[in-house]
């Protein structure tokens, strides 16, 4: 039941905050914040409760929904879901804080949409019924569309459209694939069900499984986004309000990565392996191309948006490397990218509130005026370029170690991406905080609210960089749940891969 409450709390918060906004906007903000913090407390409590986290599935809850089709309200939580949920509510609460002053117009409806997006995301991370998964996948869309389309910047409507149509098209292909799987399973066993666990070991022809896997994969790489499908991202990220950008970059992209880990790899292990070189190639293309484009952007938010394309390339690379190290790196990357990019978008928003521009060419020389903000930005820029000691380094290192065992040439190319990351990241610092300034700015530095949002981010990114053990330990519990299907097939179909399944000498795993 607790899983249902986790999903229902933001829904209730959404309705309440909309209702009270007519009377008091401040109260509406507090309600939104409180509901997300409550959820954050719940999931953190679960985490602390687990301690070692010995079991595979922490919680499991099921109720019939549309029995005619074998659709159930099936929610379950393992280590991966838990980690993602903590991130979700953490960034969610921060995005309420970040819009405290930015959103004054129709704040009630804004918070309604914000909380509804978070509901959808939480649902995606928790559901174990494929129909329900598609349902939540779509539920994320409409409120996000409104967030971009109503409270965004100049070209908001165009961006909102593009975002909506891209993701919806991917989603519909996924629906076809889900239905294909549903009928294949029914043809084999006579049982019509959308239950993830029942569908896991569906035997099917190789070619069919390849088609179905592609259906899922397209939806996820559109969301991720991987290179040919990434064009919605810079527009959406740039035009969205700060909170929208934080949620998009920090959480929405992660649903794509999560989908690959949770659905594509376990459901279609063989087909995924066939496709792995191409997926890794797409990932590397994203790393290099995204990085190159990021360097060329004149707009702060657009630059950060393209860095997401680059960083998400690592996720794709690692996810299809098929080994434990890379998998841990992928999840770390999901978390650290959420935090570092979320923070950079927040900083862009904070800066925009002060100087009302996102043009890098109109900034410069801000360090003397805004030393505190400069320091914080420096930390996240360093995180973004993968400086050891900060979370992103661990993530990218693990991914590269993992993918080295799977595909060496591509790993070498991906490593070049780190150099590009250094170049574009340092460009942010140079353009914004160093160099000559044309005019004298007299600007207020970070205020209390901004410190409250940025300080936890700084602490978390450093914590993840120097002591990632708790997260990795929690992910270990998810290994059983994710790899049960994968491992056996590895042995069966690619004997030489069994060696890769062993944790390598580089592994940072604690419990081996």
């Amino acid at each position: 039941m607790i899983l249902l409450y986790i999903i229902l709390i933001p829904v209730i918060g959404a309705l309440l905050s909309w209702l009270v906004s007519a009377r008091s906007v401040t109260l509406c903000r507090w309600i939104a914040l409180a509901s997300l913090l409550l959820d954050l407390v719940i999931v953190t409590g679960i985490w602390l409760d687990q301690g070692d986290g010995g079991k595979g599935w922490l919680y499991n809850w099921q109720a019939p929904w549309i029995p005619q089709f074998g659709i159930t309200l099936h929610l379950a939580m393992d280590g991966l879901s838990l980690v993602m949920l903590v991130l979700t509510f953490f960034l969610g609460a921060l995005s309420v804080l970040v819009s405290w002053n930015e959103i004054r117009w129709r704040a009630g409806f804004f918070h309604f949409n914000l909380l509804f997006v978070i509901t959808g995301i939480a649902g995606v991370f928790l559901t174990m019924d494929l129909f329900l998964f598609y349902f939540f996948w779509e539920v994320m869309l409409i409120p996000m569309y409104f967030l971009i389309g109503i409270w965004g910047h100049e070209r908001r409507e165009y961006a909102a459209y593009k975002f909506f149509i891209f993701t919806q098209a991917g989603g519909l292909l996924m629906l076809l694939a889900i239905l294909g799987l549903y009928f294949v399973h029914a043809a084999n066993t006579g049982v019509y069900t959308f239950n993830y666990f029942d569908l896991l070991h569906t035997p099917m022809a190789r070619s069919l499984s390849q088609w179905l896997m592609l259906g899922f994969l397209i939806a996820f790489v559109v969301k991720l986004p991987a290179v040919p499908f990434h064009t919605w991202l810079p527009d959406a990220h740039t035009e969205a309000p700060t909170a929208g950008s934080v949620i998009l970059a920090g959480l929405l992209l992660k649903t794509g990565a999560y989908g690959i880990l949770r659905f594509v790899l376990p459901l279609f292990p063989a087909a995924a392996q066939d496709f792995a070189p191409w997926a890794m190639l797409l990932g590397v293309a994203g790393i290099l191309y995204g990085g190159q484009l990021a360097y060329a952007q004149p707009d702060f938010k657009r630059l950060v948006a393209y860095t997401s394309v680059s960083h998400m390339g690592f996720v794709l690379l690692g996810a299809f490397a098929f080994n434990e190290v890379a998998y841990q790196g992928v999840v770390m990357q999901m978390i650290t990218h959420g935090i570092s990019t979320g923070a950079l978008f927040m900083l862009a928003g904070v800066l925009y509130e002060r100087i009302h521009t996102r043009e890098l060419s109109r900034m410069g020389g801000l360090w003397p005026v805004l030393p505190a903000m400069g320091t914080v930005t420096m930390i996240f820029v360093m995180a973004s370029l993968g400086l050891p000691g900060l979370g992103n380094f661990i993530a990218e290192f693990l991914i590269l170690v993992g993918s080295w065992q799977a595909n060496r040439p591509l790993t070498v190319l991906a490593a070049i991406g780190l150099v590009i990351a250094t170049i574009y990241s340092l460009r942010i610092m140079q353009k914004v905080f160093f160099g000559q300034t044309e005019r004298q700015f007299g600007l207020p530095d970070l205020n209390t609210r901004e410190w409250v949002m940025l300080a936890p981010l700084v602490l978390v990114i450093i914590w993840l960089g120097v002591y990632p053990k708790p997260v990795l330990k929690m992910l270990n519990t998810a290994r059983g749940t994710l790899n049960a299907a994968r491992g056996t097939l590895h042995v069966a179909e690619a004997p030489d891969n069994t060696k890769r399944m062993q944790p390598s000498a580089f592994s940072v795993e604690p419990n081996q």
Binding site: P64, W65, I66, P67, Q68, F69, W105, R106, F131, Y134, F135, E138, V139, L141, I142, Y145, F146, G149, I150, E157, A160, Y161, F164, I165, Q168, A169, L172, L173, L175, L176, L179, G180, Y182, F183
Partner: protein, 479 residues
């Protein structure tokens, strides 16, 4: 005729009797409110009379009609939709200067026509129902005579409907001439026996398909739809979009089943091509429409294409999908027209997208209702339209028609664009509209009806299993 016969035709008799009494009422005392309440009562009684029929099923009154679960379910859907249309009609006509009372009379007659269609198993009853429907619609479409486009729409529909009836009749004559049967099962039995289909019968089927295609408004017989929707009074447009098309679709399904249509791959391919063409043409032409009525017209062409996909699946699940889709589509479509009705002033209908600019900030509840309808048309979760579309995709996947499904998916994405465009328009923030035909105060009855429709749509979207259970019980055709 036995008592059971009478009872099994309960909904039809209620509506027909209501039409007669309504006519007398108008003759004795012309009063809009009186006729309105009377019509409402008739629809409610007709809806109630659906229930006792269930015990008698299946009931054949040879040779003309058959009342089975399938027919009864669709009768219920038709009467229910009629009820919503009547509820929305009062304010719309009250504000207009023409004589209002005959509208209800014609509406009752048209509904009766649709009810005859869903129970017909014979060419005679088919044609009778179709003509009752069409002739009432001639009057209904041109009802607001003083409007510019009303006459145009009326004449257009008159000519095209008459033409399509002629095609249909000619087709029927050919089929009858060579098979010697006018009842569907008889034709089916004859074809079964003959082994092959004689050429004139093929031609007859083709001509009939043209006639039916016109009524359904599927490509390439769709040209009339936008002009009719634009010129007709809004409640009538809602009627044409839902009940009229639904009734014809039901008769098509029954005919197809009785003559074992699934055996003829040729026929299947023709319908498949029609379905794909309807989806593409409908959605494509809707893309650039500024006029919401025309957009809804084109989108209804596309929706017929979706329905044909389920129809072509040919399985039991396809039948259920059609039933569910109709149950979802009827209120959605009527609701969308209902929003237009509620927002229209007596001067002109609020029909351009521009009229709805920033509506959310002025009339949040109406705008939300409209958003729900549009999202339901687009097939977004939490609405009935999503479950309906899902059901269709499920049926198509069941029948292994992946190509048709791919087309459906592509079209859903195209469709999304123009529905979302209107939603975006309602949530626009900056400018206020230049000119608007939106009136300052909204009618209460219309708002309540819209609220109920929204509840129905969201209810079906969140908890569809009760309706599905009903449909699974009801979707049994008999021969």
């Amino acid at each position: 005729m036995t008592f059971d016969d009478l009872l099994s035709l309960g909904p039809l008799f209620n509506i027909c009797g209501g039409a007669v009494i309504a006519m007398l009422l108008v003759a004795i005392w012309r009063n809009h409110r009186l006729v309105y309440y009377f019509t409402l009562l008739v629809y409610i009684l007709a809806l109630a009379s659906v229930v006792p029929v269930a015990k008698l099923l299946p009931h054949i009154i040879a040779p003309l009609v058959v009342v089975d679960m399938f027919a009864l379910f669709n009768s219920g859907a038709i009467v229910g939709s009629g009820l919503i249309i009547v509820l929305l009609s009062y304010n719309y006509f009250e504000e207009r200067e023409e004589r209002k009372e005959e509208y209800y009379l014609l509406l009752l007659l048209a509904t009766a026509g649709a009810l005859v269609l869903v129970i017909s198993r014979h060419f005679m009853s088919l044609f009778l129902g179709l003509e009752m429907l069409s002739i009432s619609l001639y009057g209904l479409i041109a009802y607001l005579r003083a409007r510019q486009r009303s006459d145009e729409a009326g004449i257009k529909y008159l000519i095209l409907a008459a033409l399509s009836s002629a095609f249909l009749l000619f087709g029927m004559a050919l089929v009858y001439g060579f098979t010697g049967h006018m009842d569907f099962p008889g034709i089916g039995a004859y074809l079964q026996q003959a082994g092959s289909v004689p050429l004139p019968v093929v031609a007859g089927f083709g001509l009939m398909l043209i006639g039916i295609g016109f009524k359904l408004g599927i490509v390439p017989f769709h040209m009339w739809a936008p002009d009719i929707y634009e010129g007709a009074p809004l409640p009538v447009a809602a009627f044409v979009a839902t009940i009229s098309k639904g009734g014809v679709l039901v008769v098509l399904i029954r005919f197809f089943q009785d003559v074992n249509g699934t055996q003829y791959t040729m026929l299947w391919w023709i319908l498949a091509i029609t379905a794909v063409a309807s989806m593409f043409v409908g959605n494509w032409l809707a893309l650039t429409q500024q006029n919401i009525k025309r957009m809804l017209a084109y989108s209804s062409i596309a929706h017929l294409g979706y329905l044909l996909v389920a129809f072509l699946a040919g399985k039991q699940s396809g039948l259920e999908a059609i039933a569910f889709y109709l149950v979802a589509y009827f209120p959605t479509s009527i609701g969308a027209f209902g929003v237009l009705i509620v927002m229209s002033s007596s001067v002109q209908d609020a029909e351009t997208a521009e009229d709805y600019r920033g509506l959310f900030w002025r009339y949040p509840w109406v705008a939300l209702a409209f958003t729900v309808m549009l999202l339901s048309l687009a097939g977004i979760p939490l609405t009935a339209g999503f479950i309906g579309k899902f059901y269709i995709v499920l049926a198509g996947a069941d029948g292994n028609h992946w190509f048709l499904l791919l087309m459906l998916v592509i079209n859903s994405v195209i469709g999304l664009y123009y529905y979302i465009r209107i939603v975006a328009m309602m949530f626009r923030t900056t400018e206020t509209p230049q000119r608007t035909f939106i009136k300052p105060a909204l009618p209460l009855a219309g708002n309540i009806t819209l609220g109920l429709v929204v509840l129905l749509l969201v209810g079906l979207g969140v908890y569809p299993s009760a309706m599905m259970q009903l449909i699974q019980q009801m979707m049994t055709l008999i021969r």
